[in-house]
């Protein structure tokens, strides 16, 4: 399962890409800060929604406060939140505003895209190899999705 459109766009500082895995899919994200890593990972996840499931941009904005033992777990927790929202509530954000509250604590505000059908293609974000690491140009994160 890959995005329908070629949405991969990454350079040494910023962007996201989909890395091949025998049975699953790894998302790699680069950004200058944790808040932007979360934002970029959100875009990478939402790009997986097929065109046929996409509805209009809605007004049902939501706010999420997340706290985890570390940044990698925080990233996995957020993507698992998206897995639930896409499948359980047909709600996914087209855009997010992320405020960092602590080392692994964020406030996320999301402007929604309504889904015409539940997004069920991603089972979960796993902890397999999940990481958020410092690079000379910012942060690089990886998370493997179970498809």
């Amino acid at each position: 399962m890959c995005p329908e459109k070629a949405s991969t766009s990454i350079d040494e500082e910023r962007g996201h890409e989909y890395v091949d895995h025998t049975s699953e899919m790894t998302i790699r994200v680069r950004a200058p800060s944790l808040a932007e890593v979360i934002g970029e990972a959100t875009r990478a996840f939402v790009a997986l929604v097929p065109d046929r499931s996409r509805g209009a941009v809605g007004r049902d904005e939501r706010e999420f406060r997340l706290e985890a033992p570390d940044r990698a777990a925080l990233l996995a927790d957020w993507l698992n939140e998206l897995v639930y929202l896409g499948e359980g509530e047909c709600w996914l954000p087209v855009d997010v505003e992320v405020t960092t509250l602590g080392e692994a604590s964020v406030l996320i505000r999301g402007r929604p895209m309504s889904l015409t059908e539940p997004f069920v293609s991603v089972k979960a974000a796993t902890l397999h190899g999940v990481c958020v690491r410092e690079t000379p140009r910012g942060l690089e994160a990886e998370v493997t999705l179970d498809l």
């Binding site: 890959c2 699953e24 033992p69 359980g88 902890l127 397999h128």
Partner: protein, 481 residues
């Protein structure tokens, strides 16, 4: 974190033509050896990704007994390799949600009809079409059977027995399902509201990915006596169903991976891969996960049973009352079960592996006590599937476990780059196979070339002495998830 940079391939020792071993001494954190059922060709494919490293990681988990195993269809997963088997003492060993996987009790069931292939060939388009209309698959198709919380609780605790009461299962179905379609020890309170919400409208649905419902023809019989016991004859029409616990199981796994990840330090467990998050079986977290996993496993059996109910309706509507589908067997291939092995009580994790008990095992269903428990091995789309029976020796060889399919050999992206979905559809159509799939993209990702050769995988299982070939099924029509 443990250093996992040891190249597993270099440590492999050939034990026999179908068994290789990575000794315990290969890595200081390994507690037991890692064994791989494969011949040279399959070993090469298995070694091409991180399956062996993942298998070695599993060998580090507390309470592991004898050895951890990779089946010949093994490939890289997350935490455990897919096609991995490991057993941990219940007294002081662990249970790991990642060792079961997100699709708890994903499994396969085989039904057989009294009809011959030529009797349904003229109607195969209509039958496949009606199956695809009646069994929700892919995104957005919800079940016609919505469940209240009270009904879900009965699904969790009673499994398929509850569906007998609802008129969707028979006593024969129960007797021909692994664990009679109901594991004991379910804890409905351990299933979160989110899991319930994801699963409430999904009973009787197939889901996406590699799930399917296939109309088959018994193409070849290898063992006539065993085939007769299973009700299989050459040219008979059969139905194969592959699905699991849907969003409910996925959420149960997510909830408990997170909970156990947070409890690692307290239990003094260090891991080479965070997705192996686990807890002692006897701990509060271990017991809570086990109870929730059992609930999700019972939900999965009900899911396959409800699809069976709908498929039976379709066959009767399309082909008349003579077309009744009789359940041959239903097996789980993502599950953790408490079993006795070598005089010890252990929790056997089968992640992409099928239970394969022989004729002498008390849990082999009474109807198959003289031949062994049926082992159902679906191949990749359009290449055929296999029916085997477990052998008594499998208990010693692999905790009574066999492979679960052909096993992926390339990523979805690679598969799509190799062949367009339209071309895959044409090739299947040229073989006379009717295909219904939500999108060409998903068809390309599940193309036959993305998988290992199922005939070869099954041959290795047989040569290793784990299970015995009974019949090969050829595909007439596929409804893809």
């Amino acid at each position: 974190m443990t250093d996992t940079t040891h190249a597993p391939g270099r440590s492999l020792r050939r034990i026999s033509s179908t068994l290789y071993e990575i000794p315990t001494e290969t890595r200081p954190d390994m507690r037991v050896p890692a064994r791989v059922y494969a011949d040279r060709r399959l070993l090469e494919q298995i070694s091409s990704d991180r399956s062996l490293e993942q298998l070695m990681n599993v060998a580090t988990l507390p309470g592991a007994v004898d050895a951890v195993y990779a089946m010949p269809d093994a490939h890289e997963g997350y935490g455990f390799p897919v096609g991995g088997v490991a057993a941990f003492r219940t007294s002081d060993g662990i249970i790991s949600p990642g060792g079961v996987g997100y699709d708890i009790n994903c499994g396969v069931r085989l039904l057989v009809s009294p009809l011959r292939a030529h009797e349904i060939s003229p109607r195969i388009e209509d039958i496949v079409h009606q199956l695809s209309r009646s069994i929700p698959a892919g995104a957005g198709r919800e079940s016609r059977f919505e469940m209240s919380d009270a009904e879900l609780d009965r699904v969790f605790t009673e499994g398929c027995r509850y569906l007998v009461e609802r008129g969707m299962a028979t006593d024969h179905d129960l007797a021909h399902t692994e664990s009679d379609g109901c594991l004991s020890g379910a804890c409905p309170d351990g299933v979160s509201q989110r899991a319930r919400d994801r699963g409430r409208r999904q009973l009787g649905t197939m889901g996406s990915g590699n799930h399917f419902v296939e109309v088959e023809r018994v193409e070849r019989i290898f063992d006539p006596a065993a085939a007769e016991a299973l009700g299989l004859e050459e040219d008979r029409v059969a139905l194969l169903i592959h699905t699991g616990s849907r969003g409910l199981g996925h959420q149960v796994c997510t909830d408990y991976v997170k909970r156990m990840d947070r409890a690692m330090e307290r239990h003094g467990i260090t891991l080479p891969d965070r997705q192996l998050a686990c807890a002692p079986f006897s701990s509060e977290e271990g017991q809570a996960y086990f109870g929730a996993m059992v609930a999700a496993a019972n939900y999965a059996w009900c899911n396959r049973q409800m699809i069976t109910h709908v498929a039976r309706e379709v066959f009767r509507q399309e082909l008349g009352s003579d077309a009744d589908l009789t359940l041959v067997y239903d097996v789980a291939h993502n599950i953790a079960k408490v079993e006795q092995h070598g005089g010890r009580e252990v929790c056997v994790h089968r992640k992409g592996a099928t239970r394969a008990f022989g004729p002498s095992h008390p849990e082999t269903p009474a109807a198959y006590r003289h031949v062994g428990q049926p082992v159902l091995i679906p191949g990749s789309m359009g290449t055929g599937s296999h029916v085997l029976v477990g052998r008594d020796g499998a208990l010693e060889l692999s905790f009574g476990s066999a492979c679960h399919g052909a096993g992926r050999r390339m990523s979805r992206g690679q598969a799509r780059r190799m062949q367009h979905g339209g071309e895959v559809r044409r090739e299947l159509t040229d073989k006379g196979i009717v295909v219904r799939c939500p999108s060409l993209k998903e068809l390309a990702e599940e193309a036959p070339h993305a998988y290992k050769d199922v005939d070869h995988v099954v041959d290795v299982v047989e040569r290793a002495g784990i299970a015995h070939k009974v019949a090969r099924l050829g595909v007439m029509g596929v409804v893809k998830g």
